[in-house]
């Protein structure tokens, strides 16, 4: 099931890199400003990389008839979609986590924060993939990535707000509640996403 082509991996990866550079350049090198907005920059780049790769996953397969066979297969659609989302997360988020140290140097973030930042993005980013799949399953009949992007963004507010809040305040002591909330948010989306997605796909067959 993990057998997948890596075509969108490179795009997402490059896009994340370019976007981070763009973000850094947009401050015109003002270090204090860059320092303040760098964590938000990382989150926004991550979000947009995820968004742009969304329609590659389920839309292409709906177009070429693969979902027909998922429905025919021995596995429930929920499980198939769950694993597809995991694969999407691995191919999009993990490479980004790997280049994070370099991005952090570029964005003037202290390297001591590396571990904390990586942890936060690690627990926060699955929610991006899972919510994204859920919403893109809604728009199967319309294959414009513009539409998916537009209607998915509102659903990213909880994750984005919590994620940026956590990354911005890594110095504070009483942050454990925020971390718990971030992981709960991720867990919540992981739990509902496969069921909602499968329901949405089946709605397109009736």
């Amino acid at each position: 099931m993990v057998l997948r082509s890596g075509s969108h991996l490179l795009i997402a990866f490059t896009f994340f890199f370019f976007f981070s550079v763009l973000f850094a350049l947009s401050t015109l090198g003002t270090e204090t400003l860059l320092h303040l907005i760098a964590p938000s920059g990382i989150w926004i780049s991550l979000l947009i990389s995820v968004l742009l790769t969304l329609n590659k996953i389920i839309h292409q397969e709906f177009e070429n008839g693969s979902t027909d066979f998922y429905l025919l297969s021995d596995f429930p659609l929920e499980i198939i979609l769950f694993f597809k989302t995991i694969v999407h997360w691995i191919t999009v988020a993990i490479p980004i986590l790997l280049i994070m140290p370099f991005i952090m140097i570029a964005l003037q973030i202290e390297l001591e924060k590396l571990f904390v930042l990586l942890t936060i993005i690690f627990i926060g980013s699955p929610a991006l993939s899972f919510v994204g799949i859920m919403i893109s399953c809604l728009t199967l009949s319309n294959n414009s990535s513009f539409l998916i992007t537009t209607i998915t963004i509102p659903f990213y507010f909880p994750t984005l707000l919590l994620g940026i809040y956590c990354t911005n305040n890594t110095d504070l002591d009483n942050m454990s509640l925020a971390y718990v909330l971030l992981s709960l948010n991720t867990l919540f989306t992981i739990t509902i996403s496969p069921f909602i997605s499968a329901y949405a796909v089946k709605l397109h067959y009736s």
């Binding site: 099931m1 057998l3 082509s5 070429n64 027909d68 025919l72 297969s73 021995d74 067959y205």
Partner: protein, 207 residues
């Protein structure tokens, strides 16, 4: 033990009945050919049997068990080749087949045993012609290990030797006791007695 029985089935597109009262049944090792002009509803009929479209009237029985109300488990008995090939353009032919084999766990057939059905197992699908892709889609039929096949115009895009191979795997399937329901424009290809002409099932228009 294999059998499928369709009883007075109606087919709908939206709220419009396009076919009504379809009856046929197939037992072990039988080939049924469905013909009719374009747009009559051949694909719709197959999709209704597959459970992609809802059944509003009629019944479907497989192996003497009524599956009309249960499209989920009915799907697990059937296999299908449609207009869309459902193949990933970025994988090779071999990888595509292995990918799909993972989804159908009931029977593990060695894919390399089927090598004679296509020519080049390791080229990317995006380099294949439409006919070759259709052959790959047909090859997938055998690896899933299901006994009832629904083929929606399988002879499209195939050259003469491809059509011969198609007939060959259908015959092989027949020898193994499987049932094939085939919608096609060239019914003579499969040399079977059971030919269903769909235009006889079109409901009379109300004035």
């Amino acid at each position: 033990m294999n059998s499928i029985n369709i009883g007075s089935l109606d087919c709908f597109i939206g709220n419009k009945t396009i076919l009504s009262g379809i009856n046929f049944s197939a037992n072990k090792s039988e080939i049924i050919v469905i013909t009719g002009p374009n747009g009559i509803g051949k694909s719709t009929l197959l999709k209704t049997i597959l459970g992609f479209l809802p059944i509003q009237r009629g019944s479907i029985t497989i192996n003497d068990k009524d599956y009309t109300e249960d499209p989920e488990s009915r799907k697990e008995k059937l296999n299908f080749v449609g207009h869309k090939n459902a193949l990933n353009e970025n994988l090779t032919i071999f990888e595509n087949l292995r990918y799909w084999q993972n989804f159908f766990s009931s029977q593990k057939i060695d894919i390399s045993r089927m090598m004679d059905f296509w020519d080049l197992p390791n080229i990317k699908l995006s380099a294949c012609s439409e006919g070759q892709k259709k052959k790959v889609a047909l090859a997938r039929l055998s690896i899933t290990g299901r006994h009832i096949w629904l083929l929606d115009e399988p002879a499209n895009n195939l050259d003469l030797s491809g059509q011969k191979k198609l007939v060959k795997i259908v015959k092989e399937h027949q020898i193994n006791g499987g049932i094939s329901i085939i919608s096609t424009h060239s019914p003579n290809l499969f040399k079977t007695k059971t030919v269903i002409e769909l235009s006889t099932f079109v409901p009379k228009k109300k004035v």
